[in-house]
Symmetry: C2
Subunit: 405 residues, 2 copies
């Protein structure tokens, strides 16, 4: 699975995006078997259902009225107008066990039980109340405005299938059949370790050569938005001992670890140096931004190593991690669509490029400037434009595949 990227000569032998993503997805797929816990339905919004849930009851539970009106025998109102004595009123929530006397009408509210003997409901709009009697102005056939038990949901019928992340409409349906708790998977637990001597936290002034550390914050937000629980976000200097210590703590508490930085071809690559010594595979993927990538299984835990540039990190997450994470969390797949380019674009030969873009009514607008360091474009974009590796130039108007961010 961890085929040896780094044993190949550099350059033309970079792995393809699809090949590398497949490797990651194979490694991560076992995380679908997370422990199951029982959660009260109101608290289960967004959680991934661990088993099919069937309705414990018929719905409607009892024959009831679909309208405010009068429960009658259809035969008694076959010739209208007809005036019937009023035998009483049944509100929603009342047992409604008293049978309908022959030739009479019982006033019923929407949802109220239909009394034995009645076989249809005349809506109140088609009647005139007259003290102890009601005049029915239009007859109804047997069954009209009567909801029979189990016509919506039968007891035992599948209501929500295993594997979906519960949305408000699922929660509503589960609540309507009185399901109090559901079995859901515990979310995937993720840990993030950023690296680099040059990184400082927000709110401090920068000294020469320093930049702000954004990858920890950004990856934590992206993980949370895609169904994972972030158990830790730590920063390591380029000191291998510190990185090793944080790694070891991360693999103890998380199902999946992300690192940023320390993976390229420089002399001081703490992530690559430490993880390659534990079997990690580091090398080039034919993608821009985000070429240098690493994949390791450490203490049984997958470790995805992204490059340190903030835009490269976020694009790596979108391309390599987000699709499988959404699957593991039961969330719908990342949306893709096709849209015409509003401007021509150039792309490097041999590398699949993910340009930041924005969907408009007239197509997708690429962010001007293809540098991998364009934070401004990341804030502005709402899609990634997927330019195939073999493409070097696309004219305005060419349809392109876009992935929604």
């Amino acid at each position: 699975m961890l085929s040896a990227m780094n044993s190949r000569p550099a350059g033309a032998t970079a792995r393809t995006v699809d090949d590398y993503r497949d490797s990651i997805e194979q490694l991560l797929r076992p995380l679908a078997a997370r422990p199951v816990e029982s959660v009260a339905v109101p608290a289960a919004l967004g959680r991934k259902l661990a088993a099919d849930v069937s309705s414990p009851i018929d719905l409607p539970v009892f024959r009831n009225s679909a309208m405010d009106g009068y429960a009658v025998r259809a035969d008694d109102v076959a010739v209208a107008p007809v005036t019937l004595p009023l035998a009483g009123v049944v509100a929603a929530g009342q047992p409604g066990r008293a049978p309908l006397p022959v030739g009479a009408a019982l006033k019923v509210m929407t949802g109220a039980p239909i009394p034995p003997g009645a076989d249809c409901v005349v809506p109140v709009e088609d009647t005139r109340a007259d003290g102890a009697a009601v005049t029915v102005e239009r007859g109804r056939a047997a069954g009209e405005f009567v909801r029979e038990p189990g016509t919506d949901v039968r007891a035992g019928a599948l209501l929500v299938p295993a594997g979906v992340a519960l949305t408000p409409r699922h929660i509503a349906a589960l609540a309507a059949v009185g399901v109090p708790t559901v079995p859901v998977f515990q979310p995937v637990r993720a840990a993030v370790i950023t690296t680099g001597d040059e990184l400082v936290p927000a709110g401090r002034p920068l000294r020469p050569g320093q930049i702000y550390n954004s990858n920890g914050i950004a990856l934590a937000a992206a993980l949370a938005a895609n169904g994972a629980t972030v158990v830790s976000v730590e920063h390591s200097t380029d000191d291998p001992a510190m990185f090793r210590r944080l790694l070891s703590s991360a693999t103890r508490s998380a199902d999946l670890v992300f690192t940023s930085g320390g993976v390229s071809k420089g002399d001081f690559e703490v992530v690559k140096d430490v993880l390659a010594a534990h079997g990690g595979v580091f090398g080039s993927v034919a993608v821009q931004p985000g070429g240098p990538q690493g994949l390791t299984v450490l203490d049984g835990v997958p470790v995805l190593s992204f490059p340190g540039n903030p835009v490269s990190t976020m694009v790596s997450f979108e391309v390599f991690a987000r699709p499988i994470l959404r699957h593991l969390s039961g969330l719908p797949p990342v949306r893709t669509s096709e849209a015409p380019l509003r401007e021509s674009v150039r792309s490097p030969a041999g590398r699949r490029q993910f340009l930041r873009g924005r969907l408009t009514e007239n197509g997708v607008e690429p962010f001007s400037g293809a540098g991998s360091h364009l934070i401004a474009g990341m804030a502005w974009a709402d899609v990634l434009i997927d330019i195939p590796a073999e493409t070097t130039e696309l004219a305005a108007g060419t349809p392109v595949l876009v992935h929604e961010l």
Copy 2:
């Protein structure tokens, strides 16, 4: 604004969906002016930004290398191959103040400062290191692989505009320029009161005539999924005193109150009876499901009264409340699209119908059975199919507007 629906005769004079939704949106629009609080960027995911945020710094902050390689003067490598003495190494995070000696090369890592005097970077792939010297095999023009300060973001440039709900990409950009906190609106606070003697909580056996109370759970989930904070979910019997007590508590703690049930034409309509006495407007909207609706301003707080049937409640929320709530929360609008019907449908004359449906590759499949009480369809559906009021029948293949749930 609260035009008197109930002063018109019943039937043909029901308000249109658009007209009624406009009334609600006018009432709710002032809720956009919620109090502002300052929140740390990592905790601001999903919050609505209350002011434009501009970059406090140039990005890049300093001239730096776009590649691992050698910082040189372009003139010194104009004729390649050429061997230059190695003057040292600059890692990312180092101040990089030492100038480049004339005719020499400085090894630089990606992101490392470009030393004064150097004007381009030769990627490591185009070089051969040779002890104290490096051989450059391909020359580069001035500026190549050098990132100039401010070329990504200029200090003072708008990074994220006011009014958006912050997504991971916004969080990433804010973190990258070192913004520690952002001003965000407090979420809209919503309270829910369900009504009806016949309702019982999940987990208890049903006695004759009883049904499970799902609307409180369902509305709370739908509100949370659309950016609101649910401050309370209460249930009232049909006792007006109890309902009044819960209402009064809800309007003290919430910006917006939802009620379910007690709005139709029966004899016991606690919501309508109590709120109409406080100026509430109750009447028919030409929609199915969800016709009976009520709108009140009580103690300055808008109260939206939905019918009690669980599907009617959820469709009412989708049609009348969700669009404006998403706007108030800075979330993207409800998605709509057009898709061909996979089966013919019938629809009642004079009422705009929202059928539960499911999008497939070949069009939208309507849930079979148009009754408003079809919980099974609600769990199954992922869109509402919008059938215009004047339409009574649509053939399979007809394109229809769908709203994503």
